[in-house]
Subunit: 189 residues, 2 copies
């Protein structure tokens, strides 16, 4: 997605080979017009894919996912990150390791909002190691849904996440695939 | 806001005098069309108020705040909840006590996204004790901004938050003011 790549080149900051700061338009400050364009892009790519729910993981995925759900005229379901595991019948959880925070969390779904037979478009802001997206997909499948696809705003394609997801059979749409970074350098696939 | 009140009466659940579950359209599952209407309502109320930034607190405030920012054609800034205090020049923090989680957290602002002279519309999903809104307002003022107003989706007006905010001199706009609850009963002001 050219508009997004331009924004990353203009406003993103590669600190080193691994850390890409996009806090001026995606994580802390949010360019909502750009999020609307991202929503339109995902909606266009998944038109006709029979999607019944848009799902994301709190909290940086919420803005692009909300715009996607709005464009597709579908409900949005938010998976929460919980510190502790909750043993309740109406909660599904899976442990996900966050490389950013170097700590695990419990990804949490209230399955009353996912029906067996739902076809889900999972939206997230970043893909690196793929732990969050794999955990979310497994939760959604445990709730009886199919994952129609995984829409990622920015993927670091030199890290293992994208390969893991495609090898697991998922359709993955990456709007800005970053193939290499260094201090001050960002290159797309 | 009549549409919102109707939705709360249809889909909300009052568990007792204090707990209102709105997870089917606001917290876990999000009715994004309703969020768009909420955004339009806030945008209409603050037209001409000279607002330069929409600000919210992660994560349930993000969807309504993103729609408000979209309608007002303004950037959105998200205040993060951090477990630990961070001693860095480019971070502003204040401790907020969460009555929901019965634990404090550090409300965190990257002040590079708030300029002195900014006029901020603070949007949040819920107002009860007012700790989060008061903490957010003080952070924004420390960054040199003025709080043009505080837009709340649902307020429990029988709890002290609304009174605290208005007594502190803030303009507060509540779309659904709940004056009384009991199991199965929700009454608006």
């Amino acid at each position: 997605m050219e508009l997004l790549k331009q924004k990353i080149l203009e406003c993103g900051r590669a600190l080193d080979e691994h850390v890409l700061l996009v806090d001026s338009f995606l994580n802390n400050q949010v360019d909502v017009k750009l999020m609307q364009e991202i929503g339109r892009e995902f909606a266009g790519r998944y038109a006709g894919a029979g999607v019944t729910r848009v799902v994301t993981i709190e909290s940086s995925g919420i803005a692009p996912a909300a715009m996607t759900a709005l464009e597709m005229d579908l409900p949005l379901v938010i998976l929460k990150k919980s510190k502790s595991s909750i043993l309740k019948d109406d909660i599904l959880q899976t442990e996900v390791f966050s490389f950013t925070k170097n700590a695990p969390y419990q990804l949490t779904l209230k399955p009353q909002f996912i029906q067996p037979g739902d076809r889900v478009l999972l939206i997230d802001d970043f893909l690196a190691n793929g732990e969050a997206a794999l955990g979310a997909s497994s939760l959604l499948e445990r709730a009886g849904a199919q994952v129609a696809g995984i829409g990622i705003v920015i993927a670091k394609t030199f890290q293992p996440g994208l390969k893991k997801l495609t090898e697991a059979g998922y359709r993955v749409d990456v709007l800005a695939p970053v193939k290499r970074m260094a201090a001050g350098v960002i290159e797309f696939d």
